[in-house]
């Protein structure tokens, strides 16, 4: 396992560089939008990666509620934190693209609002983890994660009824995409997923180590208190 980490790191670095080359050079320029469209190779893979991470968080939270395994909780924490970062990338790159193309920074459209609400729910999740007292954090956070997941379809339907303006999904939505573009997009997604796994992995280990340090310190202070002076 120890050796797999540097190998994954090198692979990620290679994929990210290749993805950057593909997005900036290899992919053809879009006809109507021009070079602005190239942000798509970062925007869409970040969104997919963020949603995958939130899904991992949900599964880890359910496993924690089921088995009370502290490792599942550490994984839930790591995936939520990294997911919020990727989701932030989505919410920042979106308006940068929308301004020249739609002429507005933001609109209350289905996918935008859904992403924003997800981001809000997960930020409140991280806030809860930050402020609750340590013994109860995992349970409270896991319950909140499950409630947040229940909220997603309701948010979806409420905003779906509200309005929809986002470009219809190019993948699987009946639209056509240049195969070279699709290639670059998928390479970038793979690179981002590897990167996410890499960061989650380090964060997960950091969290496990932090807990071990906390436990050792608590034990030491107990022993020190018991020792006669």
């Amino acid at each position: 396992m120890k050796r797999a980490f540097p190998i994954l790191a090198i692979l990620t670095a290679g994929l990210l560089s290749y993805g950057l080359y593909g997005a900036l050079v290899q992919a053809p320029t879009e006809q109507t939008m021009g070079d602005v469209q190239r942000i798509f190779y970062y925007h869409v893979p970040s969104a997919w990666t963020a949603f995958c991470l939130f899904f991992v968080n949900l599964v880890a939270s359910i496993v924690y509620l089921w088995q009370r395994n502290p490792k599942a909780d550490a994984l839930a924490l790591a995936s939520a934190e990294v997911g919020v970062v990727f989701c932030t990338v989505v919410l920042v790159t979106g308006p940068i693209w929308a301004r020249p193309v739609w002429g507005i920074w933001w609109t209350w459209d289905l996918r935008l609002t859904l992403t924003l609400v997800l981001w809000l729910i997960y930020v409140s999740y991280l806030m809860l983890r930050r402020f609750s007292s340590s013994g109860q954090t995992p349970v409270m956070a896991a319950v909140l994660a499950v409630l947040g997941a229940l909220d997603v379809p309701l948010v979806y339907f409420s905003i779906w009824f509200f309005r929809t303006q986002h470009p219809q999904p190019v993948i699987g939505g009946g639209g056509s995409i240049d195969p070279r573009m699709l290639h670059v997009l998928l390479i970038n997604w793979l690179a981002f997923m590897c990167f996410a796994v890499l960061v989650c992995w380090s964060r997960y280990h950091l969290e496990i180590l932090r807990r071990q340090v906390d436990e050792t310190q608590a034990l030491e202070s107990l022993l020190a208190a018991g020792r006669p002076r």
């Binding site: 809000l120 930020v123 409140s124 809860l128 402020f131 609750s132 013994g135 947040g148 229940l150």
Partner: protein
């Protein structure tokens, strides 16, 4: 007395009696909502036509903020004299306690709404063009959505370091679909332009989903570890 329904009734009666004697929650809620109404009225100064369109949002934002005042007191009140710890060790089912608290908050927030609605009507010259009886359904379902989630998250936030701050931070993101439904339903009834049916159904679904989820998880949250 010892059936779950009896326990719910006993806790509810206790909370209502406490509130009747102190009037802490209802007074602070009422005054807070009044301030919100006055400040909104200053800053927008709408015509009758405009106010019909924005009133749905204003009314529910005022009620939401005011409800947070009452919801924060739900469990904080039980911290004094370690009442919450007594609940934790008692063999009484946690859900009858939860239901009592939800019903209590539902009554407080409904009283608030009944008292504040005439003020809104006066300040904003409101008159519903659509079917006004539907407003009652929206109010009942919307208030239930607020208090069921609010009571649940208040039980979570009472265990955190920054108690009073935490409740809105947890409650608002999750209630976004319910809030959107309440606001849109109210606006469409007031303007009479659209049917509020979809939003009422959405609110009902939201209520069912979250009441079930809260009842499932409340015991875990009450006991914490």
């Amino acid at each position: 007395m010892s059936t779950p329904a009896g326990l719910t009734r006993a806790t509810l009666v206790k909370d209502l009696r406490l509130e009747w004697r102190s009037k802490d929650a209802i007074n602070s809620m009422l005054f807070f909502a009044l301030l919100v109404v006055v400040i909104f009225s200053f800053s927008f100064d709408p015509t009758a036509e405009e106010s019909r369109r924005i009133a749905g949002g204003l009314v529910w934002v005022a009620f939401l903020f005011a409800a947070v005042v009452a919801l924060n007191q739900t469990w904080a009140r039980e911290l004094r004299n370690q009442v919450l710890d007594a609940y934790r060790v008692s063999p009484a089912p946690a859900n009858s306690l939860f239901l009592a608290k939800v019903l209590g908050n539902f009554i407080f927030v409904s009283v608030l709404e009944a008292l504040m609605t005439p003020l809104f009507v006066v300040f904003y010259n409101l008159r519903a063009i659509g079917p006004a009886y539907q407003l009652l359904v929206v109010a009942a379902l919307g208030t239930w959505a607020l208090v069921v989630n609010g009571t649940f998250f208040a039980a979570m936030s009472v265990r955190t370091r920054n108690r009073e701050m935490m409740l809105p931070l947890l409650l608002f993101p999750i209630t976004i679909p319910a809030l959107l439904a309440m606001v849109e339903a109210t606006s469409s009834i007031l303007t009479g332009e659209f049917s509020a049916k979809f939003w009422i159904v959405l609110l009902a679904v939201y209520d069912v989903v979250f009441t079930t989820a809260c009842l499932l998880f409340f015991e875990i949250v009450l006991h914490g570890e």
